[in-house]
């Protein structure tokens, strides 16, 4: 087996890219705008540049924060049974576990998964990409901020929550009549915006900008 490392000078290593999932080594080549370079053996997306992506990601992250404020303050769902009615906000759903001792820790987790983590990730991304979009040097701690944002990714569960809402509604539909509040639609929109935001981020380009900027 040939040993390419012997042929690659140390300062050429930043032109190489290794697949984080399977360790396959490539010469980093920027694909054309809007196209994606994927790992040949495990198909992980490695580079996906997009013109004006930073500004778009920031706009989407701001939208996430605004929608989340709306989704947590406006009424979410309401039920009516034989004259009794009750309305619940997103926050109420998360805090449903508060009353019983150990259950309170579950309330903390649910608040984190559906509200705090999505908002925190949006805020971190704005902090990291804001200066880059303006062509300035990254702010202090930007690398750590982006790391935290990436680590939190699997723990952002807004989209799972909205499917949970759908399942819950079929469960109560034979018990009560249900009304959707404005927060329901905001939360549904939020799910779409989060997906678009994460899809528009090219990690390779962002790390590269954070590197040369520091």
């Amino acid at each position: 087996m040939s040993n390419p490392a012997a042929e690659i000078p140390d300062d050429g290593l930043d032109e190489m890219i290794a697949c984080p999932q399977c360790d396959a080594l490539y010469h980093a080549r920027m694909p054309p705008d809007g196209r994606r370079a994927t790992c040949r053996r495990c198909h992980t997306v490695l580079i996906a540049p997009r013109q004006g992506a930073y500004a778009r990601v920031i706009a989407l992250a701001l939208t996430v924060m605004v929608l989340m404020i709306g989704a947590t303050t406006f009424p979410f769902l309401a039920v009516n049974v034989a004259g009794f009615s009750n309305r619940a906000s997103v926050l109420d759903s998360a805090l449903a576990f508060v009353d019983g001792g150990l259950m309170a820790s579950l309330a903390v987790l649910v608040v984190a998964f559906i509200i705090m983590v999505p908002v925190l990730r949006a805020a971190l991304v704005i902090y990291v990409l804001g200066p880059l979009a303006l062509g300035r040097a990254p702010l202090r701690g930007a690398r750590k901020a982006f790391k935290v944002s990436e680590d939190l990714r699997p723990w952002s569960m807004a989209e799972i929550f909205i499917i949970g809402v759908a399942v819950a509604l079929t469960k109560v539909s034979d018990l009560a009549s249900v009304e959707f509040g404005p927060a329901f639609w905001m939360f549904a929109g939020l799910v779409v915006v989060i997906v678009l935001k994460d899809g528009a981020m090219d990690r390779w380009s962002i790390w590269k900008s954070l590197d040369s900027g520091s």
């Binding site: 040939s2 049974v81 790391k147 499917i163 949970g164």
Partner: protein
């Protein structure tokens, strides 16, 4: 993407260590990534221990999650307690077969499938293995992608408990299984995150590349 060599080689085979976070490569032996500041490890054998530890607590939490009630429902003066499976059966009997399937898949099939898949992957990288690396890696992708969705049932319980609080008419409250189930999902996610899938590809999938 242009491969570095005659065939696809790993950074490790090439005498390089790759950063799993930012994909930058460095000469073998370097400790921290100069681009993103992460710790560098060519292969993290200690990760297997973490995988087994998280997986074990995940499985332990899953047992009470199925024995205790997930929901306590009170309609007028009759009270009922539903475990995950009992709740799904009731839904199916009421004609909501589609929703019953979602619950059974998200709360039973996916968690058990994940336990088996993660355990298999952890065993498979420690010995010569027949299943090809590409297939094992696909299994890992599926486990990573799908694992979070088991959280659906916890959210269903949360929404129902918040919504159905109607004085005498009806109330729904969470049962103890809600917390053990949530913990089981979280621990299993941590097990999947701890796994280092790069080991699947070492020596063409023929066991560990310890040097």
């Amino acid at each position: 993407m242009e491969i570095a060599g005659q065939r696809i080689v790993s950074a490790r085979e090439t005498g390089l260590v790759a950063c799993r976070r930012c994909a930058r490569v460095w000469p073998m032996g370097r400790r921290t990534c100069g681009r993103c500041g992460s710790a560098l490890r060519s292969r993290d054998w200690g990760s297997l221990q973490r995988v087994w530890a998280w997986l074990t607590v995940g499985i332990i939490c899953y047992i009470p999650a199925n024995l205790f009630p997930m929901l306590k429902t009170r309609v007028l003066f009759s009270e009922s307690e539903d475990t995950i499976v009992a709740g799904a059966i009731e839904l199916a009997l009421n004609g909501n077969i589609g929703v019953a399937m979602i619950i059974l898949i998200a709360s039973v099939a996916i968690p058990i499938g994940k336990f088996v898949a993660i355990g298999y992957l952890a065993i498979s990288v420690a010995r010569p293995e027949r299943l090809r690396p590409a297939q094992r890696h696909r299994l890992y992708h599926i486990v990573e992608f799908i694992g979070r969705w088991s959280m659906i049932d916890v959210f269903v319980v949360a929404i129902l408990s918040a919504l159905v609080q109607l004085n005498f008419a009806a109330s729904i409250n969470p049962g103890p299984a809600a917390i053990t189930f949530a913990l089981s999902v979280i621990f299993t996610m941590l097990a999947a995150i701890s796994f280092d899938p790069r080991m699947i590809w070492d020596r063409d999938g023929q066991g560990p590349d310890r040097q």
